[in-house]
């Protein structure tokens, strides 16, 4: 009897591991920035390049930093979700226009609608590197103390907006 049970158990263990491996997302690399202060920067605004935006301005607020670009195709898939979220007025979305031409970015927002409270231009992608961006779109949930609490790699969907991001925002709103 043992003759058959042992290989069967070994086979089942192997299948469990392989099945688990099948549902991993190797492209989602966990960010070391979670629970760390959001890196500081001071970048020109897309609408008023003479004025700068800095995350320090956001102290005391829960906000989303959405890294996007007009050349990014999956950002276009995400765009309706952001517009919907902006319409709900639950949390402010700030954009980081990553390695983009300001004219292209403005044209895109004019035609598709603008979900952002404000957009900062990261023309050469240096701030993106500080935030560990490796594939736009990426979204950071930042708390009142300026700490990154969650990072979404890839487009936000209605589903993870409802199940992860909004509950997190509501929880953070209650913190001081």
């Amino acid at each position: 009897m043992m003759r058959f049970i042992l290989p069967l158990v070994a086979f089942i263990v192997l299948v469990v591991f392989l099945a688990k491996g099948l549902f991993l997302h190797p492209h989602e690399v966990p960010s070391p920035l979670i629970d760390k202060p959001a890196p500081g920067f001071s970048l020109p605004r897309l609408d008023l390049p003479a004025k700068k935006f800095s995350p320090a301005d956001m102290k005391g607020k829960v906000w989303l930093l959405n890294v996007w670009a007009s050349w990014c195709e999956s950002c276009k898939d995400e765009h309706p979700v952001l517009l919907d979220l902006a319409g709900q007025h639950q949390v402010a979305i700030y954009g980081l226009d990553y390695k983009d031409k300001p004219a292209d970015a403005k044209a895109w927002l004019n035609t598709a609608g603008n979900p952002y409270t404000l957009v900062a231009q990261d023309a050469d992608g240096r701030v993106g590197i500080d935030y560990g961006v490796y594939g736009v779109p990426e979204t950071y949930v930042i708390d009142k103390q300026g700490i990154i609490r969650y990072k979404q790699i890839g487009p936000i969907t209605m589903q993870n907006l409802r199940s992860i991001i909004l509950p997190m925002v509501h929880k953070l709103e209650k913190e001081s």
Binding site: G125, R126, G128, I129, Y134
Partner: protein, 167 residues
């Protein structure tokens, strides 16, 4: 007919290889034109270091060989850090702080990577223990065949015969 087609396609392979190589040379030349080498020592360190770092976009390509735009930006950043006189350790720490241990092709030994580093040795030990146990069990199963007195006689006779022949 099918064979002929296969041979023809195979014949085209070197052409493709040459084309790919030419493209690569062109890329390198373009890269050089955009960033002229100021200091060969810096470039050498950059290549050395970026071979040990992973490109996060292509994941199985090093930062040295990747054409992804992020890889170019990161090489630029690393080049600037080398020029500033930062040590290799400082530079890798900078990247790990932003992208995690995943950027290193050589993951550090720590709590979460113990299984990765020592798991294979553990598996070898388990395998050896199983092998040892099985071999011992088998040895116990093999019985020495007992010879009947008759067989003994025959064996002795044969052995004697052989000795006689040799003499």
């Amino acid at each position: 007919m099918r064979k002929l087609l296969a041979v023809m396609l195979l014949g085209l392979l070197p052409l493709y290889a040459q084309y790919a190589h030419a493209e690569q040379v062109k890329d390198m030349a373009q890269d050089l034109a955009e960033h002229p080498i100021k200091d060969p020592a810096v470039e050498k360190r950059l290549i050395n270091l970026s071979q040990k770092l992973r490109c996060l976009v292509c994941q199985n390509e090093s930062l040295a060989s990747s054409h992804a735009e992020l890889a170019e930006d990161l090489r630029r950043q690393v080049r600037e850090m080398i020029e500033k006189g930062m040590t290799d350790k400082q530079i890798t720490d900078y990247l790990v702080a932003r992208y995690g241990d995943f950027v290193l092709y050589d993951p550090p030994v720590k709590e979460t990577t113990l299984l990765l580093w020592y798991g294979p040795f553990g598996l070898v030990l388990v395998g050896m223990a199983v092998l040892f146990y099985q071999l011992r069990k088998r040895r116990r199963l093999i019985k020495e065949p007992e010879l009947s007195p008759e067989a003994h006689h025959r064996a002795a006779a044969l052995l004697n015969d052989e000795e006689d022949n040799q003499a």
